[in-house]
Symmetry: C2
Subunit: 192 residues, 2 copies
């Protein structure tokens, strides 16, 4: 890993009233405090709207017809590592994140990733499914530690959340995941 390894922290939810940006901020603060050598940038999927119906080709072929897909491709191509901050919906990953992943192909391949999930029932089931997609489907290299944050009733129903106090017990797990991300990046010559 060079001092220049770029890591994008992806805000995986685009829902109105989402908590994801606050959680992504909290995760990124931990990375900045603990993991020198990783240049983190928050990337909001809401800034990259990708309609589900307008790419005629399959992503594996890499020919993107739409400017929005091309913009997303160019963005993802800039980074060597990714932190997916994702809500758990109904035991799985949200459409917004899967849509963004499925729109591309070679841009993800071989790159390093961390999964941070959250939800009213935690996010562990979503994390396991997402890991399968990232590793099996997209051939990414995923950190073993996958922090899964349980939201309170107040957070789920009323959007009231102070990550610092709610998730204090998870700081070390997040730092650990970033440590593993740094090792994955160091192990890959292409990311240096």
């Amino acid at each position: 890993m060079s001092a220049q390894s770029k890591v994008q922290v992806i805000i995986g939810s685009v829902r109105a009233g989402r908590l994801c940006p606050r959680i992504a901020d909290w995760v990124t603060e931990i990375a900045r405090a603990r993991s020198s050598g990783l240049a983190t940038e928050i990337v909001d999927l809401a800034d990259f709207p990708l309609p589900m119906h307008d790419e005629p080709g399959i992503p594996a072929l890499g020919h993107y017809a739409q400017p929005h897909t091309q913009a997303w491709s160019a963005k993802v191509a800039q980074a060597q590592g990714f932190v997916f901050v994702t809500p758990q919906y109904n035991w799985g990953y949200p459409a917004s994140l899967k849509n963004a992943l499925d729109h591309l192909h070679r841009e993800w391949r071989g790159k390093a990733a961390v999964v941070v999930s959250y939800g009213g029932h935690g996010g562990g089931k979503c994390a396991v499914q997402l890991r399968q997609v990232l590793e099996g489907g997209l051939k990414m290299r995923v950190a073993t530690t996958m922090p899964a944050l349980e939201l309170s009733e107040q957070a789920v129903r009323h959007g009231e959340l102070d990550p610092q106090s709610a998730f204090g017990g998870h700081v070390e797990a997040v730092a650990q995941a970033f440590g593993e991300l740094a090792e994955l990046l160091a192990a890959d010559p292409a990311a240096a």
Copy 2:
């Protein structure tokens, strides 16, 4: 199960150039030939566009702000059983189908379902993930048999597919799944 049990065959992909409608037709033909007593209707998700960002509340509360969500809710509420015809993308389910599932909540609860998946690598991994969402997340009752159809290279790359000849070996599995669906419907007093 009464003679009136309504089953919606959901076209799970909305992608340009999708094969899903042809596969849904093929599946529905088998149901009509084999399973008397099930009133099947094909429902195309392309007819129910559901933006991922404009519902402020959580679906479990059942207050839908947008007319498109209300229309989708009314549609799903009409049926007692569902056949999800879904492509496998990167070992998982597509955003289009997950988005349609996640927009609602009580409309799915307790109802019967079949998963029919397809893809260049078959669809078995998608089917397992989707089953977890349907059973664990949405509390649906899912048929054991989940036909997973492998597409040829020609089908994946050029959209050339004649389901009748390509999937002849799966007719019995699809018929079996519909048989199980009929049993699940019969076992539920609410569906009678």
